[in-house]
């Protein structure tokens, strides 16, 4: 053995460790889902805690997925793969992933979209963005969350609306800054928004690329996250 100090590429370990954890977490989520579905909500006293466990596990999973994807995109290892996606199927899957959480918190999800709408995008990336936004909305809303998908000016818009207090004006002002990365001062990792911005940008046509925006609703109190895909 030579005495050279060991040099390891930490990011590589990070990626492989995340990969390893993803397997375990997928199993955890699967088992928790099974238990939550099979336990009787009325008679099983720890049901809310179970639902919470599932929610927290899904949050970890989504954070890990964001980290791993950003690492791969940065190293050109992500197989970006836009396909024609039936929007109805996409919305159903997103809802199914969040059903337990919605039910446990007594939040109602409204969905609005043309059932015959199709669009080209990378399903897994966009699902990552929408799940993150939905999670946020569930966290901040009063009792309802709306997922609206529509075609506007030649682009697909996905809106996630809540009826909470809306985004603080500082966040709306610094929306763009929040997408740049970690802000250690506020404690917000900004990971989700940064991930969303990157995913939006990866979707592009000849002259346009996707974008995200945060706004407050005008029809009633609440915030709105918008992902726009060309």
């Amino acid at each position: 053995m030579d005495d050279k100090p060991m040099q390891a590429d930490v990011s590589l370990f990070l990626a492989s460790a995340v990969h390893d954890m993803k397997n375990s977490i997928s199993m955890l989520i699967g088992f928790l889902q099974k238990v939550v579905n099979e336990a009787d909500r009325e008679t099983f006293p720890a049901w809310p805690q179970l639902a919470q466990m599932l929610y927290e596990t899904q949050r970890i999973n989504s954070n890990l997925m964001h980290l791993l994807t950003l690492y791969k995109v940065g190293n050109h290892l992500y197989p970006f793969n836009p396909e024609t996606i039936p929007i109805d199927e996409f919305v159903t899957e997103v809802f199914a992933q969040n059903r337990t959480l919605l039910e446990s918190k007594g939040i109602e999800l409204e969905a609005e979209h043309d059932p015959d709408l199709y669009w080209d995008f990378d399903r897994d990336l966009v699902a990552g963005v929408i799940n993150h936004a939905l999670n946020n909305a569930i966290h901040y809303t009063r009792d309802r969350v709306r997922l609206v998908v529509l075609e506007r000016d030649g682009a697909l818009e996905l809106h996630i609306e809540d009826n909470g207090r809306g985004y603080p004006s500082a966040m709306l002002d610094e929306g763009a800054a929040a997408m740049r990365g970690v802000d250690f001062a506020t404690g917000s990792t900004g990971l989700g928004l940064y991930f969303s911005a990157i995913v939006a940008k990866m979707h592009r046509t000849r002259s346009h690329h996707g974008e995200i925006r945060l706004e407050n609703r005008t029809d009633e109190p609440g915030g709105r996250f918008v992902l726009r895909l060309p």
Binding site: H19, K22, N23, I25, S26, M27, I29, G30, F31, Q33, K34, N61, M65, L68, T69, K72, H76, L77, Y78, P79, F80, N81, P82, E83, T84, P86, E89, V91, T92, E93, F95, A96, Q97, R99, E108, L109, E110, A111, E112, D116, Y118, D120, D124, L147, R204, T205, R206, P230
Partner: protein
């Protein structure tokens, strides 16, 4: 309005109840979880089989027909999910009607590297839920239904009909429009109609930069001889879509054709860094390294290809032969001979035996062992006498050159003669043959022989067609059959023979043996030279004759 999940609809639940499933995962926990999900979707317990690793999966696939395979990409030591899929498709253990769903913990270039015909029907990223699986499978079943008639026409090699069916579906099926267009382009290339394919690619690309359409267009440039245009377009693709590996492979091929071997090496090197586990790409890189005299690089790439091939149906003898040549170049004939002994055991075909012997001779010559080289040349001559091996042109030329300089002149000329017989109109090949003969004692004799063969072959190729034109069908058939026996790998002879057979059939009525003979010739021509316009036309004609005969029998 509150959103409700309706769950699997009645039709889909019935599909689940009828389907046979195979679950492949190395974790017991994952397997039982997936089985539970399938059961909840309506699957029968007795119709769900489970395999814990790749070879177990292959065994089970060989014993039972599965409608759906749920296969994890990571299967521990041995085959990975992609390799299981490749073997299953290659050995036709799964048909076009079954659904292959690849399950991955994450998406990466490694896990979704299946190319062309070896792609799964869907990738599912864990965690998998019931809604996700039932929704995706319902859509896959709908899609398979859409493609069933097209698949059938393709299985019968009636590509013209398959194109018509694609067009029909495209008018109504928006969900599968992209896949239908992609398939249609592939089919247009199969039937030798690049102009129509170009129009489709261009109309797609007018909307947005779709990588597969860009690569398709670049391939057309390549085949049309516009290598610069192909290179420029492919460079653009890899620049923007850095993980789209198919574009790297085509770019390297284009650079090689342009004579830019270093450029090709650099491009394949980048692709291999992104995804090191492709048997074919590693072999291609090895061949480029060998050409550049980069023997260390060649050894590394060929070794990797050989090692990866241990679990893969895509393994090639060429990787072994390349590795032997690399060792030969490094003055290590002992290692080279070990590799050649191995290739003989791994691939027991007359072609590989011949190529291995040839490589052995070349390695001995390089090591200065002339006696052993000549001994190998004698063995090559014997093997040529014993078998009806069909060699590719590159190997034939290399072999002729070696035999010519090893005292086996007669055999050398015979190899060249056969090559010219099969390709009498290929100018590039004729030039290469001429170069082999140049400066040898046999130059004059050889050139005269080659020229006579060339003229005779062209005459034989056309004789049958002329006889058919004079309506002497039976004479035409026997003339072309004789030509086929003499030039078994001559694409034009094979096509002309099938043409004459089919024309005769139209006059004389259905004949099962002749239909079979025509089909064999056509398929052989298509293997030798895919994408011939006449192949598609004749195949369609043949299928029509079959259909007519079948309807008369009913």
């Amino acid at each position: 309005m509150a959103f409700q999940i309706t769950g699997p609809d009645k039709e889909s639940a019935e599909r689940f109840a009828k389907a046979v499933f195979l679950v492949v995962d190395d974790f017991q926990g994952m397997r039982s979880m997936l089985r539970d999900i399938l059961r909840n979707c309506g699957a029968n317990a007795s119709a769900i089989d489970m395999a814990a690793n790749g070879s177990e999966a292959v065994t089970m696939l060989g014993k039972r027909r599965y409608d759906v395979v749920l296969c994890d990409f990571d299967l521990g030591p041995g085959k990975n999910g992609q390799q299981v899929l490749e073997e299953a498709k290659h050995r036709q253990l799964v048909g076009p009607g079954s659904c292959w769903v690849m399950v991955t913990a994450e998406k990466s270039t490694e896990t979704v590297m299946g190319a062309g015909e070896y792609q799964p029907d869907a990738y599912l990223v864990k965690p998998i839920t019931e809604t996700m699986l039932s929704g995706r499978l319902a859509r896959l079943w709908q899609k398979k239904g859409s493609f069933a008639a097209i698949d059938k026409a393709m299985a019968a090699h009636d590509y013209l009909k398959a194109i018509r069916l694609c067009d029909e579906r495209l008018t109504t099926d928006r969900a599968n429009a992209a896949d239908l267009l992609r398939l249609k382009c592939d089919l247009l290339l199969k039937v030798g109609d690049p102009d129509a394919a170009r129009k489709v690619y261009e109309s797609i690309l007018a909307q947005r930069d779709v990588p597969w359409a860009q690569v398709g267009l670049a391939r057309l440039h390549f085949q049309g001889g516009d290598l610069e245009a192909a290179r420029d377009l492919l460079e653009q693709v890899v620049d923007i879509n850095r993980s789209y590996l198919e574009a790297y492979d085509w770019l390297a091929r284009t650079q090689l054709a342009l004579g830019d071997t270093e450029g090709a090496q650099a491009v394949l090197g980048r692709a291999v860094a992104l995804s090191p586990n492709s048997v074919t790409r590693q072999k291609n890189l090895g061949e480029i390294d060998l050409k550049l005299g980069n023997l260390d690089g060649a050894e590394r790439a060929f070794r990797k290809s050989v090692a990866l091939g241990k679990h893969s149906i895509l393994k090639t003898a060429d990787a072994y032969l390349g590795l032997a040549k690399a060792y030969g170049g490094k003055a290590n004939p002992v290692e080279a001979m070990k590799v050649l002994a191995e290739v003989g055991k791994e691939f027991d075909t007359p072609e590989v035996q011949l190529k291995a012997k040839l490589t052995e001779g070349l390695v001995h010559r390089q090591a200065g062992n002339e006696a052993a080289a000549r001994e190998a040349a004698r063995s090559v001559a014997e093997l040529l006498d014993q078998s009806a091996a069909q060699l590719d042109s590159t190997t034939s030329i290399e072999m002729a050159q070696f035999m010519l300089t090893s005292g086996e002149t007669e055999k050398a000329l015979a190899v060249l003669d056969a090559e010219v017989r099969n390709n009498p109109e290929n100018g590039q090949l004729l030039a290469e043959v001429d170069k082999v003969l140049e400066g040898t004692d046999l130059a004059e004799q050889g050139r005269a022989m080659i020229e006579a063969t060339r003229l005779e072959s062209i005459e034989m190729m056309n004789r049958g067609v002329l006889l058919a034109r004079e309506e002497r069908y039976e004479d035409a058939v026997s003339a072309m059959r004789a030509a086929r026996d003499k030039m078994p790998a001559n694409v034009r002879v094979l096509l002309n023979f099938s043409y004459v057979l089919l024309v005769a059939l139209q006059k004389t009525g259905y004949d099962r043996d002749r239909i079979r003979e025509a089909r064999e010739c056509l398929l052989r021509a298509n293997t030798l030279s895919p994408g011939e316009k006449r192949f598609a036309q004749l195949m369609s004609l043949l299928e029509n004759l079959e259909r007519e005969a079948a309807s008369r029998q009913d």
